[in-house]
Symmetry: C2
Subunit: 325 residues, 2 copies
Amino acid sequence: MSLLDRYRRPIEQGLRSVLRGETQLAEILRYHVGLSAEDVTPSKLGKLIRPGLVLFTAEELGGRIDAALPAAVGLELIHGFSLIHDDVQDRDETRRGRPAVWVRWGIAEAINAGDLMHAIGLRTALDAGAGAARTLAEATAEMIEGQSLDLAFEGRFVTVDEYVAMIDRKTGALFRCAFELGGRCAQVGAEVLGKLAEIGANIGRAFQLQDDLLGIWGDGDTIGKPIGSDVRRKKKSYPVVVAYATASESERERLERIYAAATIAEPDAKWVIALLDRLEVADRTCEAVREYSERASKAVGRVSLSDDGKRELLEMIEHLTRRET
Amino acid sequence: MSLLDRYRRPIEQGLRSVLRGETQLAEILRYHVGLSAEDVTPSKLGKLIRPGLVLFTAEELGGRIDAALPAAVGLELIHGFSLIHDDVQDRDETRRGRPAVWVRWGIAEAINAGDLMHAIGLRTALDAGAGAARTLAEATAEMIEGQSLDLAFEGRFVTVDEYVAMIDRKTGALFRCAFELGGRCAQVGAEVLGKLAEIGANIGRAFQLQDDLLGIWGDGDTIGKPIGSDVRRKKKSYPVVVAYATASESERERLERIYAAATIAEPDAKWVIALLDRLEVADRTCEAVREYSERASKAVGRVSLSDDGKRELLEMIEHLTRRET
């Protein structure tokens, strides 16, 4: 049984418990996390990576799962709320192979659903103590700042460093938070918390860049997106940022023209995809994923986990950064 | 000096302190509360009713202002976040006489701004203790459920009781919370908390119904809305709900037809306003405001406040329910 599988059941129970309620909004929240009445199997739940990492870290460092569970569930809810609002902001119509909340219930109610999941997330984390709730609220604020930067980046081409600084917030904040919450619930000191945060920060980078890869070259059958999907959505993800950094003057100008238009024409999309191929940015993105996952693995070596725990965590990092969905 | 004036300065300082930061999003939050660099005077700040009530209640019941301040500031931020998202949901273009956040920065960034203010609000409340943060998070969740109900009511005519149950959540939750937070910071027991909540609940009702009155018959010069504004926006506020409840069969059918259309034609708006006049719903709404403000005042008598405090609070209730903005 893999690391994440082990904690699936308590997390699912925790989510069920805080998302009960008879209102339409409660039903929307259950739908979003994959626990509505129409989801006959629990398979509609996401991967539960972040809450799994909270419980794993807490248990490995001597904490109790039941004490850490509210922090884990709170973190998953914060992640879930960010997805609901992200989909509204990006007008993404599909989430985990199903219609996004805003597609089914409209934008106004999707904003409410995200807001409610946010409030319940922070309230739930309070059951793991004020320190856990503070850690989660701070990570939430940082994630939102990252989301705002990401939006601002739509208006210009940024450097690779700026991009990485953005994903450190948008994606990294909650991964760091997962390890910090786990450590906090096991009552480790500041030094260990710092090391844990380093694992999370590097997993976050590797995870996001792998996501960026899949967004362009992912297998449509597996993740429900055609090749070049993120190019057609004009997402300036890591591969595009790297391409811009290495392109010729005239290619840059063409990229700027293409991305400044309201929508991308198919010949332009094809040209961008061909440029990415020619500049070998897929390989360079893979290398970056590998680099960050190696850094994460090294950071794992600096924390005193059990041998089994270390092996499991390294396997999970390997798995996350090779995943195809 | 009135009750609210007395606490204005510490609340303003508290808001400034938690809303500092160099990012665009931080600047948007300052703009929204009226503390951006372009607001040369502090007069752009709102009335600060809710945080003022927190500090007043805490001080009256033997608590310390500085201990209660984070709860007060957190509550104001939660109120502020709800306004940012409300304006997006209702496409309201003006807030406190200035362009709404979404008008200036777009819908996506307005969603981020609200999300960030929400996270900062709950994080700030943690400085007043885990109990205060929990009270605030629960009130936040309740307010959002009320907002969702309000949206759902757009699709049908509800009874007066349903409407009042909705505003008890949408508006009442934060007013109750203000008194509860004040009581909590003064460490009063459950019985006093219950009495405090009753004051807040009735102020919330009176406040919202007064708002509903102003939304239709408010002085355009004072609050920036023309007569009948809420009718033209097809808001089914209390006066319309009362009118529907007392209208004839044929009037009801016409109301249903008018409110089912995407927009309201000017002759229809005039007919609705004339119907409201003929059914004397303005008077009936005023009576309801008076009733709830009397209930609030009676509830004030059941809590042991100082004589001065009692007088100030009664004056404030009187003032709120006679306000013209």
